[in-house]
Structures are given as C-alpha cells and as structure tokens.
Symmetry: D2
Subunit: 142 residues, 4 copies
C-alpha cells in the first residue's frame, strides 16, 4: 500500500534529499492511516451506549484526524518546502496524536476501536517524531 506513495515522491523532478529514502513516504501513509482510524473511532464512540462518557475521546479523535490529514498533505509536497512550516505542522500533529492516543488508551479495555486507535496514534506520533529529528540536522531552516 505504501508503494504508490514512495513511487510518487521519487517521481518528483527534483525530490528532496533531506530524508532517508522512504521515510517521508512511510510517514505520509501512516498519517493518512491515522486520519482514517481517528475518523472511524469518533464515529464508533458516537454509536456506543456510553457516548456521554466518550465525549473527550470523540473531540480528540476529530482534532487528530483533521491534523493528520493536513500534515500528510503538506508532507507529501516537495516543491519549495518551507522547513519551518513543515516542522511546526509536524509538532502540532505529534501533540494531537499523543493526546488522542492517551485518551483512547484509557478506553482500550472496553472498546476495541479505542485500542486500535491508541496504537495508530502512537505509531503516527513516533513516525512524525523520527522524521522531525531527521529533518533537524541537514535542513537548517528556522
């Protein structure tokens, strides 16, 4: 599934050499997967009998889905990247993934969707964090 993303990023006429080949593509795919999982978790929480106890989970799922979609979109672009914009976006996304992951983790015993969502958020935060550290050295920027 990540093949098309890697192929696309390498077919850019002047691909960025700021990252280990493949890391950018894998992170884009992980972000899109996390966006889907968070959207689905908010939707499943809404259908639970205990919906009133899952308000915070729904809210954080929605924010995390929105930020993951936007971060994936920005990260998928390689033309004329402003490193400071990319970095601040990744940082916001990591905060949202961690916050959402921690909340979902608290409901993981009760709800399978929260368990899967907690895992997706943790993987996504880790991938963004790794990419952020790789970006820090060579690129420079603000």
């Amino acid at each position: 599934m990540s093949e098309p993303t890697a192929t696309m990023l390498q077919s850019h006429p002047d691909p960025l050499a700021d990252l280990e080949p493949g890391l950018r593509a894998r992170t884009v795919d992980r972000l899109m997967q996390c966006a889907t999982v968070c959207t689905s978790c908010a939707d499943a929480c809404l259908a639970e009998e205990s919906v009133a106890e899952l308000r915070r989970c729904i809210r954080l799922d929605l924010d995390c889905a929105d930020l993951c979609r936007t971060t994936a979109t920005i990260l998928a672009r390689q033309s004329e990247t402003d490193p400071s914009v990319l970095r601040a976006t990744l940082e916001a996304c990591i905060v949202a993934c961690r916050s959402c992951g921690e909340e979902c983790r608290m409901h993981a015993d009760m709800h399978r969707h929260c368990r899967v969502c907690a895992e997706a958020c943790e993987l996504c935060a880790t991938a963004c964090d790794e990419l952020l550290r790789d970006l820090a050295t060579p690129v420079g920027g603000t």
Copy 2:
C-alpha cells in the same frame, strides 16, 4: 496497510451490513491513497519545467485530492448514514477521478508521476463505482 481500516470498521458497535465485508474498508484506503497521489502529482507538476502546460493537470489533481479526502472521511463513518449523501458524494468523487485520470493519462508518456496518478484515479473511480452499485440495491435511500 488496509488491515487497520477493516478492523476499525468492524469494531463499530453496530456496523453497517450494507456492503460485502471489506469492500468499504478497501474503498476508504483507495480513496486516501488517491488523495495522496493526486496531492503529490500536483506538486510534481508544479516543479516541472513545462509547468505552464500542466495547469489543467494541477487544477484537476487539487480538486480530485480534496474530493477523495472528503469522500474517504464520509465513507469511514457508519453511524446514522444518510445514503443519499453518501451516494452523491461518491458520484462527485467518481467524476473528479475520471476527469483527473484522463488528463494525467495524456501526460503519462512524459511524466512518471502522471502515469502513476492516472492509475490511482482509475482504480479509485472503479472502486467507488462498484461500491455505489452495491449500495444501490439493499439500502434504499433517496
């Protein structure tokens, strides 16, 4: 990569039984993949020397990416679905995928990103079309 989506959709407390299990999940993943590929194709076109000849391609890539992201998000929700909204959204997405795919196909010999994008758009339009036909019989709706 499509596993988490299928797992999530099945963990809904009252999953929709309107579609062959797995078809909804695969279509969501295909839509998200197409959104990424179209975003990346617009970005690669922008960096080409011949950018002035790729204006229509960039425009259609952007529209298609936006519609695929929104369609994936709406399709990933199973609570209280309004079939008429889902159907009209899928129809709009198919029009965008076909239009973008045809344009990219015209540049496929020159640009690898357009070739990959044409394929992603065609696969996505086909998946949405299949899902739309599956929805037509059992669900009813408007």
Copy 3:
C-alpha cells in the same frame, strides 16, 4: 467580510465570466460559513445532556461541514475548471445541506445551535442551487 473573496476572484488574470459577478464569491463565503456553523453545531450537540438523541444530527453536521469546506475550495478555483466536477460537487453539497438542515430543524425548538445551523444549511443549499442553475446555461460541460 465577503469583500476579500470578491476582490480575490476578480484579481484572477483570466476570471471566469460564467456567473453574475459576485455570485461565485457570495456562494464561497456562504459555504465556508456553513462549514463553520455545522462544525460548531456538532460540537455543541456533543456537549448536550441529550447527546444520545443527537447522534444523527452530529453525523450529518460532520458530513455537511466536510462537503461545504471542499465545495468552497473547488468553487474558489477559476483556472481550468472542469464544469462536470464543479456541478457534481455542488449537487453533493446541496444534498448534504438539505439533509443536515432538515435534521437540525427538528431540534430547533430545543437547541438554539440547531436553529442557527438549520438556517445556515438552508441558505447554503439555496445559494448552491442558484449557482448550479446559472452554470447550466452558458458553460455547457458534461
């Protein structure tokens, strides 16, 4: 508030002459306003004691917000427009606005946010419908 949108659309080097000047700008603004109102209504419903009875309202609010945002984005673009994509997008948005507006209307006596949201959805559907009819005659397209 709608001034900047009209100014922007007229500053395009080759603005579309397919619509009464100002109608496109007003519709873009109305779509963005409806996206904000639907996002806010979903959020207010989630905080109500009676959240369990508002599930359908929340779901339709979320779908409508997503479609309005995407429709506004596509409508704001004038370069190399594919009329068939624009039309199918507007049609999907109208279906979502009508569905969401009807649901919100049912809760309008109980919840002020649903009353305001019903009005925003109705105004938005009407604006999109008017624009769709204006597009039908001169542009041609599919």
Copy 4:
C-alpha cells in the same frame, strides 16, 4: 458575516470562558477567510504567464490554506478542548501565515491577488497570535 459564528459559539451548552467574548468567533472567521484567499491566490498564480516564478508562492498558499482550514475547525470546537493541541495548532498556523504573507508581499506590486493575500495572511497571523497570548494566562495546561 461574523454574526453566525459568534451566535453558534455562544449557543454551546457550556461555552468556554477562556477568551474575551467574540475573539474566538472573529479568529475563526479570519482563518476561514484566509483559507479562501490563499486557495484563490494559488489558483490565480497558476494562471499567470509568470507561473514558473510563482512556484514558491503557490506552494506556501496551499500549505497556508490547509492549515487555516484545520485551525478554524479545531478552534470552532469548545467541547473538551485540549489546550496543548489548540496552542500547537495555532503556532503552526501562525508560522504558515507569516511565511505565505512574506512571499506574497514580494509579488504585491505585480499581482493584486498577492497583495490581498499578503494582507489576509498578516491579519490572520495577528489574530491567532493575540488569541494565543490570551489563552496563555487563564487556561494553563500544556
């Protein structure tokens, strides 16, 4: 135009009292306006004869539009806000608005759309910055 947003935010059953009444609504509207203007500026740049010299402007316009849309959506939600997510999102949006505004300012003499866009970005960055400082004192949480 900003009336519906303020009305919606005040109709929440438990509105946040973290900000001067109206500031949140005005900032949401400003973000949505900036998203529209940046989308339109990217589209107008794409149609210019000098498109090849406007690549950086188009790229930053697209990123800024995506971040403004997401920030407006997150800011419009008042239920169970995580202040650290809101803050990091606002910070990313400010970086994008400043970067896009500076680039557009460089083309402001040549292109009216860049002049209007530079203004919208500067107003939006200022509004987000003011809101961020207002949030800093009473809310706490990181």
